[in-house]
């Protein structure tokens, strides 16, 4: 066992994962490596990429036992491609596949059966929820799942730690030569950013579409120069699960109070000024923060430089009102985001690496003034858990959480002090997924805690009259109301390895009972 820089005990070697590189600090581990390169290809005039069905794709490549198949998650809970590709693998008797899917949703439940039958024996992802996460937590796989960040996945693909044999790219629109975009067709999802590294670095790239357009397709997100095969199937996804209608601001008064306080923290930090750059999620209090920030920006008559991340209609409205000059988009959450990226030249589609990889010549999160993030648990060292629930079962993942936290000048975690009865602040989070050194402020309905590393910021918040408390004080308030929770017993087997964005190991997840 070794102890990493945030005090977590990690084995030196994890069976099925290999030797562990211990987390040493957010920017402490230099890359010291070359990028990996896929095989060089050639095509002749008259060659056709169009294949008749997924089985034909499997035979042509050919897909063999033990290969790594990759997928992107822009279709979220409406994805139909992963299940159809893996059903094809099962039908053809292929075993021991590794699935590298950037995020796993409840719709991917059939994966559990493929685990049990040995069709799929390894999983590499940045987020998982639903039956697959539950089954992994109970120990269905012999090999631990690798949990990465969105930037970390791009880094792993580009640097050769995640070697992809075949990338299956769900393509809302494609042409017969393999040009792809995400903005036309019945399953338009907007940005295809998470699929860019897969397309760039996989040995074989397959566009799976249900909307074939005449050559040449435009706009082009993923170009024909990287796509080997194009296959048209009946349906690649369910639009209802892909994008939502208008994402609404929460009506919960507690969450609104938290959001209002978070916006005041941003203002007190002096960030509501020309050039302001901002990232926030779509859920709960996060979107409400954008709502309050929008009012502040209007009142101060300032123009921000850009909004980043998963994009909602709310951020699109701010772009259209002139509150931001640009949107940098790696994933769209709603129909407004799709409409905007398709029509507004100031709405940019970028790759996962551009968004958040720590190992390139500079990613977008490094340009962020402020990010708003959630948390399932946070400890008194400000380490955050967004992977496991209080029962130890996996219910999420970092996604871009640790990437944005590391990059942003001001990282704010917004959370209710109690989630149901459970205090959000612990002595030690069950699973550390974002290191505390990258979290600056915790905002709850009972007060605001500032990371001791940011003494100057603490003074700014106090001067603005914000309810600043020590994180230990907030923890005591929660425990006074709810009582101190008893620890949940866990098994000893490691079911997932939590990699930081640089590939070092932050923590491991043990089997849930």
């Amino acid at each position: 066992m070794m102890i990493n820089a945030i005090g977590r005990e990690i084995p030196e070697v994890v069976e099925g994962y290999g030797p562990v590189k211990s987390f040493a600090g957010a920017f402490a581990t230099p890359p010291g490596m070359q990028r990996q390169a896929p095989a060089v290809k050639a095509a002749r005039p008259g060659d056709s990429k169009l294949l008749d069905g997924l089985e034909e794709v499997f035979r042509r490549i050919p897909v063999r036992d033990g290969m790594t198949l990759s997928f992107h998650h822009h279709f979220r809970n409406g994805d139909g491609v992963v299940n159809q590709v893996l059903a094809t693998a099962a039908r053809l008797g292929i075993k021991n596949l590794k699935v590298a899917l950037s995020s796993v949703f409840p719709v991917h439940a059939p994966l559990v059966e493929h685990f049990k039958t040995g069709v799929v024996t390894a999983l590499d992802t940045n987020y998982m929820s639903g039956p697959v996460a539950e089954a992994v937590s109970r120990g269905v796989l012999a090999q631990p799942v690798v949990l990465r960040t969105h930037g970390g996945r791009a880094r792993a693909i580009e640097c050769g730690q995640l070697k992809i044999d075949v990338a299956f790219i769900a393509a809302p629109a494609a042409d017969p030569c393999g040009n792809i975009n995400g903005v036309t067709g019945p399953t338009a999802c907007g940005s295809l950013g998470y699929a860019f590294p897969d397309a760039e670095y996989a040995d074989h790239v397959v566009a799976v579409t249900d909307h074939l357009e005449a050559y040449p397709l435009s706009p082009v997100s993923i170009p024909q120069t990287r796509v080997d095969y194009v296959v048209k199937i009946e349906r690649i996804g369910d639009p209802k699960g892909i994008v939502s209608g208008t994402t609404r601001i929460t009506k919960d008064p507690v969450q609104l109070k938290i959001a209002d306080t978070a916006a005041k923290v941003i203002e007190a930090a002096g960030l509501i000024r020309d050039g302001f750059s901002f990232q926030t999620g779509a859920g709960g209090a996060s979107l409400a923060v954008a709502h309050f920030v929008r009012q502040m920006m209007k009142k101060a008559r300032i123009t921000g430089s850009f909004a980043l991340g998963g994009i909602t209609g709310h951020l699109v409205e701010m772009l259209e009102e002139g509150l931001f000059k640009k949107i940098i988009d790696v994933q769209g959450f709603d129909l407004e985001a799709v409409r905007s990226i398709a029509s507004n030249p100031n709405h940019l589609e970028v790759s996962a690496g551009f968004y958040a990889s720590p190992f390139n010549a500079g990613c977008a999160v490094n340009q962020l003034d402020c990010v708003i993030l959630g948390a399932t648990e946070i400890d008194t060292d400000f380490n955050v858990n967004v992977v496991t629930g209080s029962d130890g079962v996996i219910m999420g993942g970092s996604g871009g959480h640790s990437d944005a936290a590391a990059g942003a000048g001001l990282t704010i975690v917004v959370a209710n002090l109690l989630r149901g009865r459970l205090p959000i602040i612990m002595d030690k989070v069950l699973t550390a997924t974002t290191p505390g050194e990258t979290i600056d402020v915790l905002v709850t309905e009972w007060g605001v805690a500032v990371n001791p590393r940011r003494a100057e910021l603490r003074e700014q918040l106090l001067a603005a009259g914000l309810p600043v408390k020590e994180i230990g004080e907030l923890k005591a308030i929660a425990e006074k109301m709810a009582g101190k929770p008893k620890e949940v017993p866990l098994g000893s087997r490691i079911v997932a390895v939590v990699e930081y964005r640089d590939g070092t190991v932050l923590d491991v997840v043990r089997q849930a009972k």
């Binding site: 209080s390 149901g420 009865r421 109301m481 009582g483």
Partner: protein, 88 residues
């Protein structure tokens, strides 16, 4: 005393059902909770002490908890008890 209920299945609430038992049967408490691991014993304790304070000896308590705090548990239990006694 008759069977009575109080509370809801909303988050942070608890639904308590009381059923009278024969004299001498004692107190039986069944708890279903989304925080059973962390707070099962605490919930059991607040229900038992509230019943003792109210002088209830023979009752079956079915508690379906969704993360209620102690005062909520106590309030729902006392309300259910009040309803059970009125119904008699």
């Amino acid at each position: 005393m008759k069977t009575a209920q109080a509370g809801t299945l909303e988050s942070s609430d608890i639904m308590i059902t009381l059923s009278p038992q024969e004299p001498g049967d004692g107190v039986k408490i069944d708890i279903d909770s989304n925080v059973l691991h962390q707070y099962g014993e605490a919930i059991q304790a607040v229900i038992a002490s509230t019943l003792a304070e109210a002088g209830v000896k023979d009752v079956w308590v079915k508690a379906v908890d969704r993360g209620a705090l102690d005062y909520t548990i106590k309030a729902r239990l006392l309300t259910a008890l009040d309803r059970a006694r009125r119904a008699a």
